[in-house]
Amino acid sequence: MSSVQDTVFSIISKEAGIDIAKITPESTLKDLEIQSLDAVQIIFEIEDHYKITLPDRDPNFDTESVKGLVDAVEKLLAEKQAASPPA
C-alpha cells in the first residue's frame, strides 16, 4: 500500500466518520455512502495536505472512487516534482 493511499484512506475515514477498515481502493465514494458535502471536504483535505489542486469534473481524472483519488494525487505529485527545479 502506497503512502499516498494510506493518507487518502485516513482522510476519508476522518472526514466521513467511517471505519478505515471499510475502505478499499475499489470503493467509490457513493459505495461508502459519502454525501456530497463530505466528498468536497475530503477533496479539500487531500488538496491542503499535498498542496495540490484536484480538477473539478475533468474527464481525465476519476474523483469518484478511492483508487481514482489516489491515482490523481500521485499523478499531480509527480507533475509537481517534475516542474520544480532540482534541489
Partner: protein, 404 residues
C-alpha cells in the same frame, strides 16, 4: 382580504443598469456572463461571472455619500430610485413614509468592505481599520440606506436566507401590506460579493461552472456567480387604483418552506411544499400558471430536483407550463436573485413573452419540462411563479397575477 399591487420596479445586474434594459436583454436571450473584469483573476480557477459592467458609482452618488456605501448598498439604492420614481409616490406626502415598510434581502451583505478591510489588516499589516467598516458591511445597511433616502419610518430590516433572501424579503413585505400592517413597502434583494475570497469559496464547493451557465441541459456544469439588485414598490391595491397608478402586476401570494434535511442538497419535497403553498396563498390552481421563473442554477443537483418538484405539484399541467431559468443570462446573484428574476416574471406577464433559458444545448432526460431553450416565446401569461431555493434548504416561491 386586501390585495397588493406592484407599482414600481428597479433593477441593476450584468444585463443592464435599469430594469427595462435588463428585460430587453432577457427577451433577446442575451447573456451577461463573461470573463471576470472587476477583480484580479490570477488566483482564480473559475474566471467567469455575471458582473455589473461599465458602472461608475459617481454617476449616482457624490463622494461624501459614497464613503458610507458598500457596493451592495449602492446597487440597492440605484434600484430603489428607479422603482420609487416609477411608482410616482412621494413618501413625504400624506404620511406615506410612515406607512411604508422597507425589507431588503441579501445573502452576504457588505462583502467588498469586509474584503478590503481584511486585506488592509491581514495583508498590508495596517493596524488601522476604516471607522465606517461596520456601517458599510452590516447586512441591514442597504435597507437602512433606503429608509434614510426616502424617510421611510415603518418596519424596516434585512432578511437573510442565502439564495432565497430576496424572495423571503418580498414575501414578508407582501404579507405586511396585505394584512394592513402597512400600506406600502419598498422591498427586494441586493448582492455584491464577487471578490477573490468569495469566488475561491464557491470554487471549493465545486458547484460553479467554468464555461457558462446552462440550466436544465445535459451539458450544464454548474452555476455562475452574478451580482446586482432588484427593488419593488408594493402598494395596497385600492390605493394604487384610486390614484391611477400604473399597476405592473398583482402580488398574489407566496409560499415558504424549509427542507430540514441537507445543508446543500436540495429536496424535491421541500421545493414542492413551497410551490403548493404559493398557489394556495394566491388562490390559484396549477392550471392558471403559464410561466415559472425557475431557481434553475445549472448545478447537477438543483435542476432535476426542481423539475421533479414542479411535476409533483403541477401533475397533468406540468407539460403545459413554460419554465425558464434567466440565471443563464444574469448569473446567480444569490440574495438578489429572486428580485432580478421578478423583473423577468413581470415582463412575461405584461408583454406576453417568456424569456428563454439561454446557453441550452441538449436536453437532459432527468429534466423533462418545457424550458423555452434559447429563444423567447410569445404566450399569453395570466399568472407566474418565481422560485428561489437556498442552501440550507430554505425555499420561497412568489406568485404574481397579470393586472388587466
Amino acid at each position: 382580504m386586501r390585495r397588493v399591487a406592484i407599482t414600481g420596479m428597479g433593477s441593476i445586474s450584468s444585463l443592464g443598469h435599469d430594469a427595462g434594459e435588463q428585460w430587453r436583454a432577457m427577451r433577446e436571450g442575451r447573456s451577461g456572463i463573461g470573463p471576470i473584469a472587476n477583480i484580479p483573476t490570477d488566483l482564480l480557477n473559475v474566471k467567469i461571472a455575471a458582473e455589473v459592467r461599465g458602472y461608475d458609482p459617481l454617476k449616482y452618488f457624490d463622494s461624501k455619500r459614497l464613503i458610507l456605501l458598500d457596493r451592495v448598498s449602492q446597487f440597492a439604492l440605484i434600484a430603489a430610485r428607479e422603482a420609487v420614481a416609477q411608482s410616482g409616490l412621494t413618501f413625504s406626502e400624506s404620511n406615506i413614509g410612515e406607512r411604508t415598510a422597507c425589507i431588503v434581502g441579501t445573502g452576504i451583505g457588505g462583502e467588498n468592505t469586509h474584503n478590503e478591510q481584511s486585506q488592509r489588516f491581514y495583508g498590508d499589516k495596517n493596524p488601522r481599520v476604516h471607522p465606517l467598516t461596520i456601517v458599510r458591511l452590516m447586512a441591514n445597511a442597504a435597507a437602512c440606506q433606503i429608509t434614510m433616502e426616502y424617510k421611510l419610518t415603518g418596519p424596516a430590516f434585512a432578511v437573510v436566507s442565502a439564495c432565497a433572501s430576496a424572495n423571503h424579503a418580498m414575501a414578508q413585505a407582501f404579507d405586511m401590506v396585505r394584512s394592513g400592517k402597512v400600506d406600502f413597502a419598498v422591498t427586494g434583494g441586493t448582492e455584491a460579493c464577487i471578490t477573490v475570497p468569495t469566488v475561491k469559496a464557491w470554487e471549493a464547493v465545486r458547484v460553479t461552472a467554468d464555461d457558462t451557465c446552462r440550466p436544465f441541459c445535459k451539458q450544464r456544469r454548474g452555476m455562475v456567480l452574478g451580482e446586482g439588485a432588484g427593488i419593488f414598490v408594493l402598494e395596497e391595491y385600492e390605493h394604487a387604483r384610486k390614484r391611477g397608478a400604473t399597476i405592473l402586476a398583482e402580488f398574489a401570494g407566496s409560499g415558504m418552506s424549509a427542507d430540514a434535511g441537507d445543508i446543500v442538497l436540495p429536496s424535491e419535497t421541500g421545493a414542492a411544499k413551497a410551490l403548493a403553498a404559493a398557489l394556495r396563498d394566491a388562490r390559484l390552481e396549477a392550471g392558471d400558471i403559464d410561466y415559472i421563473n425557475a431557481h434553475g442554477t445549472g448545478t447537477p443537483a438543483n435542476d432535476p430536483t426542481e423539475s421533479k418538484a414542479i411535476r409533483r405539484v403541477f401533475g397533468g399541467y406540468a407539460n403545459a407550463v413554460a419554465v425558464s431559468s434567466t440565471k443563464s443570462m444574469h448569473g446567480h446573484a444569490l440574495g438578489a436573485a429572486g428580485a432580478i428574476e421578478l423583473v423577468a416574471a413581470i415582463g412575461a406577464l405584461r408583454e406576453g413573452v417568456i424569456p428563454p433559458t439561454a446557453n441550452f444545448i441538449d436536453p437532459d432526460p432527468e429534466c423533462d419540462l418545457d424550458y423555452v431553450p434559447n429563444v423567447a416565446r410569445e404566450k399569453k401569461v395570466r399568472a407566474v411563479l418565481s422560485n428561489s431555493f437556498a442552501f440550507g434548504g430554505l425555499n420561497a416561491v412568489i406568485a404574481l397575477k397579470r393586472f388587466d
